[in-house]
């Protein structure tokens, strides 16, 4: 499928991609069927492609926010005492008490764990639910017991569901899906940004504009798109085609606070987009496809969970790129791109033939060949012309699709 920029018009900053992403469609893990048409179908400006090259696309506005600390700038002006102070510091560093255990607040953010152990989850408060009077009984299978008036979430279940969700993220990344990390509570910004960086996904930390999926033609319509190949390099020559694209939608949404993002989750289920959500004991687990029962009020829990999922996405992306280097592409061209390439191939063939005919005629060619009449389209040219007309008609319909024609999901 083609993806239109995931950046939202309203919140460009909030929805900016953190790295190049592939847009993709389905997976063909083997290279058995190179698109017959794609060879030679690309415009001459396109770089040479492998035989099974598949093209997808995504937009990528420049990165605006990063969770990585910036390197210190060199200080031009030094106070006079500075050198003396540093010397003294170096001289006396070995004196005094030694701090063996130091708590570094950003440690989990910088080094997300590949897997969360039960001890780690408990140390990060993942087991604490809400007051027993606020519970949603649908969560009873995730609840271990009651203590001090709150429900305690069973961490075995949390770890199990987290592992399952991590596998989903990894596989979706492997098959070239677009992953969106959403955390809109105060303080969740660096968490979702970091996860999106790792998984080469997208992040949202401000308000979800209602309708960004269901009304995407209006909300995201004017944002730029691009087509990338299987190594995530941008491919030129699709400008004309991109004018007709619908905006892209994510293939997987990870939500750290489903309670506040109910409209978004509803849009996702309406458009058949799978979702992963951190479900506290007061939330409805039916809101999301994959439930991670955990404390959604703790930023440390959110850091662990998003870190594990981000790492999983990172693994999936690495596997995908590695396979692509070996010539195995895990996704298929979106249908529109296929059709565009077919039309381009037909047009090119017709042009070549016309050029050959012309050359033959100029060279004192003897008569027409195969009964083609000059000035009249042959069968292939006619077919190309009809396809072009179809495309134009579709474009005039305003990009709207018929109900059975949902290829962007």
């Amino acid at each position: 499928m083609i993806l239109r920029t995931a950046a939202v018009r309203h919140g460009r900053k909030a929805f900016s991609p953190s790295s190049l992403r592939s847009l993709t469609t389905q997976t063909t893990t083997t290279t058995e069927t190179p698109d017959a048409v794609s060879e030679g179908a690309l415009p001459p400006t396109a770089p040479p492609e492998p035989a099974n090259s598949i093209v997808s696309k995504v937009t990528r506005p420049p990165q605006r926010w990063s969770a990585k600390p910036r390197p210190d700038k060199t200080i031009k002006y030094m106070p006079a005492d500075w050198t003396r102070y540093k010397e003294q510091q170096a001289r006396t560093r070995s004196l005094g008490s030694r701090i063996e255990l130091l708590h570094v607040p950003g440690h989990l953010l910088k080094n997300p764990p590949a897997e969360a152990s039960l001890e780690m989850l408990m140390a990060n408060q993942a087991h604490m639910g809400h007051s027993t009077s606020l519970w949603n009984p649908a969560n009873s299978r995730y609840i271990c017991g009651v203590r001090e008036g709150i429900h305690i979430i069973s961490l075995e279940k949390t770890a199990e569901e987290l592992r399952r969700a991590a596998r989903v993220v990894e596989e979706v990344a492997y098959y070239g899906g677009i992953i969106l990390f959403v955390g809109t509570r105060p303080g969740q910004m660096p968490i979702v940004v970091r996860a999106a960086e790792l998984a080469k996904g997208y992040h949202l930390f401000s308000k979800w504009t209602p309708g960004t999926i269901t009304n995407r033609d209006q909300i995201l319509g004017s944002l730029p798109l691009m087509v990338v190949d299987e190594m995530d390099r941008e491919v030129d020559g699709f400008d004309k085609h991109l004018l007709d694209r619908r905006p892209v939608v994510p293939d997987l949404v990870v939500c750290l606070n489903p309670l506040e993002n109910y409209p978004m989750l509803r849009e996702c289920s309406q458009e058949n987009i799978p979702t992963i959500g951190v479900i506290d004991t007061n939330a409805d687990p039916g809101m999301v496809t994959y439930t991670i029962p955990a404390n959604d009020d703790s930023l440390r829990t959110a850091t662990v969970i998003a870190g594990v999922l981000g790492r999983a996405g990172q693994r999936g992306q690495q596997r995908r790129l590695k396979d692509a280097e070996l010539g195995e592409v895990t996704w298929r061209n979106p249908r529109e791109i296929q059709r565009f390439l077919e039309i381009q191939a037909l047009l090119k063939a017709a042009e070549d033939e016309a050029a050959a005919l012309k050359a033959e005629a100029e060279g004192g060619g003897s008569g027409s060949h195969k009964g083609d009449m000059p000035g009249v389209m042959n069968k292939e040219q006619l077919e190309a012309f009809q396809l072009l007309q179809d495309l134009e008609r579709e474009r005039r319909e305003g990009g709207r699709k018929r109900r059975g024609d949902e290829d962007d999901i």
Partner: protein, 234 residues
């Protein structure tokens, strides 16, 4: 949500899309979404059934309790309650409750006394030591409590003495510690009192003046009223 039912739409995303691909007129050319294979091999877990709740302790299983999460109780709870009832000011001491890797329990060995690695002395040490003594040294609850809390008092005293000696030593070699926080607080309070005193004195003078002004008109005898005026006044 809404209308009381369970919304299973999000849970059945895969089935919905798979159905559209396997319908009476399947579209073979349509590539399935990127998540399709992932969800095919990793289905979401079941949430819509309600299993019997995990049970703790020996509370009898009653008909009404099947699905209700039971209480989590530990033997330390009662000990902790009693200790802090006897030593309420222990709760006023700051304490670090954050764990870094969740492995802190590996460094604790309550057979060796109250001082433990990675853990400052606090009421919890007494509780854990008492429990260890009860379980492993064959002591009764009261005996274990007395032993643990006396060890605790000794260690607290040792901390105090150590702190005092450290201050003395530091003063001896020339350190000076300005005012402590209480002194600073008292000084600020004194300043405010002084300000108030000045203000109050000023106010007193003002009100005195006002009062004396009010009486000035009564000090002088008035001129005698004319008889007609007298009549009018009466």
């Amino acid at each position: 949500m809404g209308r009381g039912g369970r919304n299973v739409r999000a849970k059945r995303v895969f089935q919905a899309v798979a159905k559209s691909f396997a319908g009476p007129f399947p579209n073979k050319n349509l590539p399935p979404p990127a998540w399709f294979k992932a969800l095919e091999s990793i289905p979401p877990s079941e949430v819509l059934t309600r299993p019997v709740a995990i049970r703790h302790g020996s509370a009898p299983l009653k008909k009404g309790n099947f699905y209700k999460p039971s209480r989590l109780a530990y033997p330390e709870d009662q000990l902790r309650k009693e200790f802090y009832k006897d030593h309420p000011w222990e709760l006023a001491r700051p304490r670090i409750i954050m764990e870094m890797d969740g492995e802190d329990w590996r460094y604790l060995d309550w057979s060796k006394g109250l001082k433990q690695q990675r853990m400052a002395l606090c009421g919890e040490s007494v509780v854990q030591r008492q429990l260890w003594l009860m379980n492993h040294a064959g002591m009764s609850k009261q005996q274990a409590y007395d032993k643990a809390r006396k060890e605790f008092y000794a260690l607290r005293q040792e901390e105090d003495v150590g702190r005092r000696v450290a201050i003395e030593e530091a003063r001896y070699v020339g350190a000076y510690f300005g005012k402590n926080q209480l002194q600073v607080g008292m000084e600020i309070e004194d300043q405010v009192y002084e300000q108030w005193k000045a203000w109050a004195q000023e106010e007193m003078v003002k009100s005195e003046l006002k009062r004396s002004e009010a009486y000035t008109s009564f000090g002088e005898p008035d001129t005698q009223l004319e008889p007609e005026e007298e009549a009018v006044v009466s």
